[in-house]
């Protein structure tokens, strides 16, 4: 009786996975997946337009609108750049950080979000140590939520500014992108992939424009299953072989704060994965060098590479303000029919 049942197993219908209701607010940017290529092109175009606009005119766009920056983790670049972006559009900003607020007293993310909304915040920019926190905040407040980095998950505006930097260097700054824009471009992302939200956002975004992404690092920081993260993604253990194929090389910081007991021999790591002037000259003499910062000179890359002509690290920082102006503008002006999940 029983043996007759088992063989048909593969044809069994099982409960489907429901389609995601997120983002709930059309102004939100939770994941790079939330942006269609059209929405992406629009953002890139707006970044350029806003960057070139007269500052006094620009400051009328969101004059006196209220935007909260809610930061549960320390940040230099992202926080300052979001703040300058919002202020550049004329918005009032308020910074709440976990160390100087009621968060210390145990207030939940939901209650903090509702409090900010009651204070008049029309959008919240969130950085949080827990993966997925922006989804919870959006569900709790229904406000536009901009993900400024959630745990080990995503950092969508970083991927946007990386894309803008790559387009400036390799595609003379074009703004209208499609599925072939980065055809023929190989991007190596090197180092601590496991803990990196920058890597996840880039590996999900760049292949949609035709790029090939090579994830490169030791098994402890790059599990085999990362190769299943999405189309156009492969993994490599040999840094020099990956470098030789790359037009873009993105170096990542070892995230000591997330290693959580993982033992890593830093000397061994440097021998295998440090981007040195010698390696760069020999294997990728024209490649663009990116790094999301903060950089640790002498660890993932040498000072000479960081400061050298192939480095676009400071251009990335500058591009951050431009793309975040576009993202903040979209947060407060998006209509339900724009954007949507790709």
């Amino acid at each position: 009786m029983n043996s007759a049942v088992a063989p048909v197993r593969r044809q069994l219908r099982t409960p489907p996975v429901a389609a995601s209701p997120f983002p709930l607010n059309p102004g939100s940017l939770l994941s790079v997946q939330d942006l269609t290529l059209d929405a992406l092109s629009h953002l890139l175009a707006r970044a350029t337009a806003l960057e070139n606009q007269d500052p006094l005119t620009r400051a009328r766009i969101l004059a006196k609108r209220r935007i909260a920056l809610l930061f549960y983790e320390s940040s230099t670049r992202t926080r300052t750049s979001f703040e300058l972006a919002a202020k550049g559009l004329g918005a009032d900003t308020a910074l709440v950080s976990s160390l100087s607020s009621s968060i210390e007293k145990g207030e939940s993310l939901k209650d903090t979000g509702l409090t900010l909304r009651a204070l008049g915040a029309e959008a919240i920019i969130l950085r949080h140590a827990s993966s997925g926190a922006p989804w919870l905040l959006e569900a709790s407040t229904r406000l536009p939520v901009l993900n400024a980095g959630d745990g080990m998950h995503e950092h969508p505006t970083q991927a946007l500014l990386d894309l803008r930097t790559i387009l400036a260097r390799l595609r003379s700054g074009i703004e209208t992108v499609n599925a072939e824009t980065l055809a023929g471009v190989t991007v190596s992302i090197v180092g601590d992939i496991l803990h990196s939200r920058v890597a996840r956002s880039n590996m999900l975004l760049l292949p949609r424009l035709g790029a090939r992404v090579i994830l490169c690092g030791p098994p402890a920081l790059l599990p085999e299953l990362a190769a299943q993260a999405g189309p156009g993604v492969e993994i490599a253990r040999d840094f020099e072989a990956a470098l030789a194929r790359s037009q873009v090389v993105m170096m990542l910081r070892i995230q000591a704060e997330r290693l959580a007991g993982l033992q890593l021999d830093l000397e061994e790591y440097k021998t295998a994965y440090q981007l040195t002037g010698q390696r760069l000259a020999a294997l990728a003499p024209t490649a663009v060098v990116l790094h999301p910062g903060p950089i640790i000179r002498g660890l993932e890359l040498t000072a000479g590479v960081a400061d050298g002509p192939q480095s676009a690290i400071l251009e990335q920082v500058t591009n951050g303000v431009a793309v975040r102006m576009a993202v903040v503008e979209r947060a407060l002006t998006a209509k339900a029919d724009k954007g949507g999940r790709a």
Binding site: V5, S131, G132, D150
Partner: protein, 438 residues
């Protein structure tokens, strides 16, 4: 006590090999008579329930629930949890000991069964296997059994130390109890800085969440089977709670072939859902063990169909809304399940995958009764306890967590289509739930 006649229904009693139209007389808390339709001899003065078109079966038995009392009454009480059980067709529930304090004493075991708890159906405590469920010192099982405990377990936590688990198995065997193990090698799933919050795999990687590898379950199951094998002479009974991986199932299958008393239960959520149902951080899809890959889920379905699985249990785990409305990694594990188990089993195992109704009811009553040694339950032979569920096996309905009897609403099945609507649940001759009263 008044007598009760259930008339016009189809009686399915898998343990007794009965499947056909029968009338049944319940008297003084017991099954008094079973007869062909209209042929009951003594019905004078009995209340009559008309079960025309309905199925009559032994009341369901959930061998794995968390009723949260003592100590966590804001999540659930014994009264609300058993009301949910009755609404789901259950007449017996076995309550896990991870309460506050941990139920590791005869006093707490008795307290949980006391009249004052106002239980709607019978509660059978499962006592802690070790003092405070700390995995160090084995409790006095004879005293716990005398107080009413039907098994021992440190559920929520594993008994990690080989020597402690060996002692627990041997001591439980001496008094005729099973050891129910929550198989999780916490050395692989929890560190000082983090705990795994979902199944290890591509989905966890993409969501940036720490993964709970399959090996953390199978390693403990394999270790425990080795200990059972070493203690073979004493005939210990190991029961694996909420088994979730193909590897652990294979170990159980093999142990059984080797003549060992190793059994297992599966939850509806593990045989229906996969780690992809976590979606974008739905904390109602967070449980321990986590929802697994499609391959593991398929292996669970196969193991139910081919008879390796001994019981379906819900792991009913209520949590307050504010506890689940937090960051995914911080949310507590578990979902409620008492009010959806039958509806999901009939919708999927019966209607979709064609498992005979008798087999399903056996997994939900006769088999867990046997595993826990509940005499006179899980069957409706004359003289058995009058624990009965009467349901419409064909009725489709939509489950609304908000309308449930449980104090909590943490379930991924809200809004799902269920099949099989409970009409009456009768606990020891008393109507514990009637759909009319809703």
């Amino acid at each position: 006590m008044t007598a009760l006649v259930i008339r016009g229904g189809n009686l399915i009693d898998p343990a007794a090999g009965v499947d056909g139209p029968k009338d049944i007389l319940l008297k003084d808390g017991r099954v008094a008579e079973i007869a062909s339709p209209g042929k009951l001899k003594t019905t004078n003065g009995a209340d009559v329930l008309d079960a025309t078109g309905l199925t009559i079966a032994p009341g369901l038995i959930d061998m794995h629930v968390h009723l949260r009392e003592p100590g966590q009454g804001y999540k659930e009480t014994i009264a609300t949890g058993t009301a949910a059980a009755a609404a789901g067709g259950f007449t017996s529930v076995a309550a896990m000991p991870n309460t506050t304090p941990v139920n590791d004493s005869p006093e707490t075991t008795r307290w949980m069964q006391a009249q004052e708890r106002s239980a709607a159906v019978r509660v059978f405590p499962i006592a802690a296997a070790t003092r405070g469920s700390k995995g160090e010192t084995v409790n006095d099982y004879a005293a716990l059994k005398a107080a009413g405990a039907v098994a021992v377990s440190d559920d929520g936590l594993p008994i990690l130390k080989d020597n402690v688990m060996r002692e627990a198995l041997a001591a439980a065997a001496r008094v005729g109890l099973s050891v129910i193990q929550h198989a999780e090698d916490t050395r692989q799933t929890r560190t000082a800085n983090w705990s795994a919050s979902m199944n290890a795999g591509p989905t966890a990687f993409n969501l940036g969440l720490r993964g709970w590898p399959n090996e953390a379950e199978s390693a403990i199951v394999e270790r425990d089977i080795r200990l059972v094998s070493e203690l073979r002479e004493a005939r210990p009974h190991l029961h694996v709670a909420h088994i979730s991986t193909a590897a652990a199932l294979n170990a159980v299958r093999q142990a059984r072939r080797n003549g060992l008393r190793v059994t297992c239960e599966v939850t509806p959520h593990h045989f229906l859902l996969t780690d992809e149902h976590v979606g974008l951080y739905d904390t109602n899809a967070k449980m321990c063990p986590p929802l697994r890959s499609a391959a593991d889920r398929d292996a669970l379905i196969e193991a139910i169909l081919d008879g390796v699985v001994d019981a379906i249990a819900t792991d009913h785990a209520p949590h307050a809304v504010h506890e689940k409305e937090v960051e995914f990694e911080r949310a507590p594990n578990g979902i409620i399940g008492l009010e959806t188990a039958l509806g999901l089993c009939l919708r999927w195992l019966y209607q979709e995958w064609k498992l005979p109704l008798g087999r399903i009811l056996s997994l939900l009553s006769a088999q867990p009764a046997a595993l826990l040694g509940l005499k006179g339950r899980g069957t409706l032979t004359v003289g058995s306890f009058a624990d009965v569920v009467v349901f419409d096996p064909k009725a489709e309905w939509s489950y609304s967590a908000r309308e449930g009897k449980s104090k909590s609403r943490n379930t991924p099945f809200d809004g799902w289509t269920m099949q099989g609507k409970v009409r009456w649940t009768i606990s020891e001759g008393r109507i514990a739930y009637s759909a009319e009263t809703v």
